[in-house]
């Protein structure tokens, strides 16, 4: 294999002034986490780019497969090296251009000559290499303004570096560079998308899920775990806090008028989430709410639910259409998991006519007859915590069978 390293360009990071060093080291850690199932990577980071050494073909394939999902990477390129003489350069340029030989395309040679002692000048290299590629590839022609392929040659002190592909990265900022928030993960289509969008802006996530057995099944919990696991491929570990919610939910059903039940349920969830947020040291709460999508997502409902806390509630989907959300869900691969048809705690005990315009005072009044604080404490204390990405051992009781 000709590729010896992957070169990573940071994009938005490069403009971040004094925080830049932190961002870069965060990105490096995230990359290490993403690839912690293969042999440790040799990563070298510089001011505006990062180099990952490639040791085997298998490693290269895994790198190329996962790299596009890591936030904080603007673009990346596989890079080949050769000796600093014009014959080796010619040979390598043919090897690199070989991947395009079936297609009819245009190209140009771009030279960066940081080692000024190299005997050939940039335009000489361009002419030598360009001519050599053209002679050997009848399908390829030159186009200087907007070529399909740019063969970049960098003449450095130690060697010649060559690359021809610039692959788009996920953009955004490295997860963890903008603090931590708690994601309310229901198992539906919206919440994983909300989590994804915040991760893209560098927010590290923990997730919380409300589990009401026997009204909701292990299937539905498994689905939420799968979603949490799927979100980890964007470059960070996620902890999922599963709250035993049956007791509180049935109590609400018994104590609160049925058309307000839904609002109260959300308020209680929010109070619990806020407690967990405090314990784990997160700064905000992320939800997948989108304005007007269901009764609990009108501005009146959001006001009533929001009333229980001062914590910033981040609702990245608030102005998104359902179809736009589905599109992102499909793109990030959570859609198929989300649409598995299991009850979640939001769909049980749903009243026929939930209030779309609940009044805060009234909801407060209805809830005032029940002492929820202790129940909340207990639910938070009895939560179960799962870590993702899952360690392989739990999965591999099936390994012998397959």
């Amino acid at each position: 294999m000709i590729w010896k390293e992957i070169l990573i360009r940071y994009g938005e990071l490069s403009t971040k002034g004094r925080n830049k060093k932190d961002f870069i080291s965060r990105l490096r850690t995230n990359i290490r986490n993403t690839f912690n199932d293969i042999a440790p990577l040799k990563i070298q980071s510089e001011r505006d780019r990062m180099h990952i050494e490639i040791e085997t073909e298998e490693q290269f394939e895994i790198l190329m497969e996962r790299m596009p999902t890591i936030f904080g990477i603007q673009s990346f390129s596989p890079v080949a090296f050769c000796e600093k003489d014009i014959e080796s350069m010619k040979n390598l340029s043919l090897l690199i251009m070989d991947q395009f030989k079936e297609q009819q395309l245009t190209f140009k040679v771009e030279v960066r000559r940081s080692d000024k002692s190299f005997p050939f000048e940039s335009h000489e290299i361009q002419r030598e290499i360009g001519g050599h590629v053209l002679r050997n590839n009848p399908n390829i022609s030159v186009q200087v303004k907007k070529p399909d392929v740019e063969l970049r040659i960098e003449v450095r002190k130690d060697a010649i570096y060559m690359m021809a592909q610039i692959i788009q990265g996920a953009g955004g900022m490295p997860v963890g560079s903008n603090g931590k928030s708690l994601l309310m993960l229901s198992g539906g289509i919206d919440s994983p998308v909300a989590g994804y969008l915040l991760m893209k802006r560098g927010v590290r996530l923990e997730a919380i899920h409300f589990f009401s057995p026997p009204y909701t099944s292990d299937h539905s919990l498994q689905k939420v775990k799968d979603l949490a696991n799927e979100l980890t491929k964007f470059g960070a570990n996620i902890r999922l806090h599963v709250i035993p919610f049956t007791e509180i939910q049935t109590l609400i059903r018994d104590r609160v008028p049925s058309n307000t039940m839904m609002t109260s349920t959300r308020r209680l969830m929010m109070r619990i989430a806020d407690k967990v947020r405090e314990e784990v040291g997160a700064l905000g709460i992320v939800t997948g709410e989108s304005l007007g999508q269901v009764a609990s997502q009108t501005l009146e409902s959001l006001t009533a639910i929001n009333d229980v806390t001062n914590t910033p509630i981040l609702r990245p989907l608030i102005a998104f259409d359902k179809l736009e959300i589905i599109q992102i869900a499909e793109q990030i691969g959570t859609y198929e998991t989300s649409i598995q048809p299991y009850e979640d705690c939001c769909t049980i005990f749903t009243p026929a006519n939930p209030k779309t315009k609940p009044k805060v005072e009234k909801v407060n009044y209805y809830e005032s007859f029940t002492e929820f604080d202790e129940l909340i404490e207990r639910a938070v204390k009895n939560r179960e915590i799962y870590r993702f990405p899952e360690k392989n051992e739990t999965k591999d009781k099936f390994a012998d069978l397959l």
């Binding site: 292990d218 299991y342 099936f398 069978l401 397959l402």
Partner: protein, 379 residues
């Protein structure tokens, strides 16, 4: 017993049988059940599906488990034809398909679909030009087998796919029952076939298990209706043990592929030389360009059945051209399509190798066959 009839079926791997038993003992719950045991079976089923999807290079959801190659072929043909009547009712296939393809298409023909059958040359290969000419605006399905089961001809699937995709809206189904696990078979982005049929028992898996796989999401009508299992496309409680056993057989086949292909090639060319030494009394139906694991030939003025019996007496199992048709007395449609000389049409026998075939088996065959020829033909 020296078993050289691996294209009829294969002996299941020990490991595959163990998997089958263990899954039946420990994960017998219905994968559609919502209790924990069901969730566990379902997880295992997903893993099996993912393993096969990875081998075939498609998405997990594009792999459906069936009861075997025949069902997969029926499903592809009826499913695509019935779901796409708005595009047309024209089907293209070849003269040398397996009966499960030909009979399905004949049933559609009786139902008013128009069908073109591509002819093959003396090596059993279709003409791409003919394919191009037969394609029409209203062609909804082209079904071409990858490797012929009776004599091993390999069809130019990639080139056919290019022609089909460039000139029609038809779905391209490939019956890969004889090729999967014996040669590289997988999907490609925007090229190659759209649908592939696979059978478990041809690759040292179990009878009654197969897969139909799609390159991408397709408009296809289910063949079996009911509880909506397999994404609503193949109802019936999924046979998890069979599915897992198939995933295992497929993995083992692919892992051993390099070594087996090398063996098959060596044996085939060795036997070619051996059979050519009998001169005019033997006619080869297979060619060296065909699949290396299938070798079929015919002995002049002899019935295949007699040869099979004579070899069997010496502990060697081979078959007439195809196991499925060998009990019927009529001459095989493939043998006829190849324009086999009249003296040779009745004497066709087929040797087919598998992952458990050994060098010794081949040497034993040669000794036995020489004896048989002496006995029957005085040669």
């Amino acid at each position: 017993m020296i078993y050289l009839d691996n294209s009829a079926t294969t002996k299941p791997y020990k490991e595959v049988l163990n998997t089958f038993i263990q899954v039946n003992e420990s994960f017998y719950a219905n994968p559609a059940s919502i209790h924990e045991a069901g969730v566990e079976s379902n997880t295992l089923l997903d893993r099996a599906r993912a393993q096969i999807a990875k081998i075939l290079r498609t998405d997990d959801q594009q792999v459906l488990f069936t009861a075997g190659g025949t069902e997969s072929n029926n499903f592809a043909i009826f499913g695509i034809s019935k779901a796409n009547t708005h595009k047309g009712k024209h089907i293209i296939t070849t003269e040398i398909e397996h009966a499960s393809v030909l009979e399905s298409i004949r049933a559609l023909q009786a139902d008013g679909y128009e069908v073109d059958y591509l002819s093959v040359d003396s090596e059993g290969i279709i003409s791409l030009q003919e394919l191009n000419e037969k394609l029409r605006k209203d062609t909804v399905l082209v079904s071409i087998m990858h490797v012929n089961n009776e004599m091993g001809a390999i069809q130019p699937i990639e080139d056919a796919a290019k022609i089909i995709h460039a000139n029609s809206r038809a779905a391209f189904h490939v019956d890969a029952v004889q090729s999967f696990g014996k040669m590289p078979v997988f999907f490609q982005d925007n090229a190659g076939p759209d649908i592939i049929s696979i059978s478990g028992h041809k690759i040292h898996g179990l009878k009654g298990s197969g897969v139909i796989a799609f390159r991408k999401k397709m408009n296809i009508a289910p063949l079996l209706l009911g509880g909506g299992q397999e994404y609503g496309l193949r109802s019936g409680t999924v046979a998890v043990p069979q599915a897992v056993a198939l995933a295992k057989a497929a993995r083992m086949a692919v892992e051993n592929l390099g070594q087996s292909m090398e063996n098959y090639k060596k044996w085939k060319s060795e036997l070619f030389d051996f059979l050519l030494s009998f001169g005019n009394s033997i006619h080869l139906l297979s060619t060296l360009n065909g699949a290396a694991h299938i070798l079929s030939f015919s002995v002049k003025d002899l019935k295949g059945e007699i040869l099979i019996n004579a070899l069997q007496k010496r502990g060697i199992i081979v078959s007439t051209s195809s196991a499925c048709s060998s009990k019927q007395k009529k001459t095989s449609h493939v043998v006829l399509a190849l324009n086999t000389p009249p003296n040779f049409v009745n004497g066709v026998i087929r040797l087919s190798f598998g992952a458990l075939t050994t060098d010794k088996d081949i040497q034993q065959f040669k000794i036995a066959f020489t004896e048989v020829m002496k006995e029957l033909k005085g040669e």
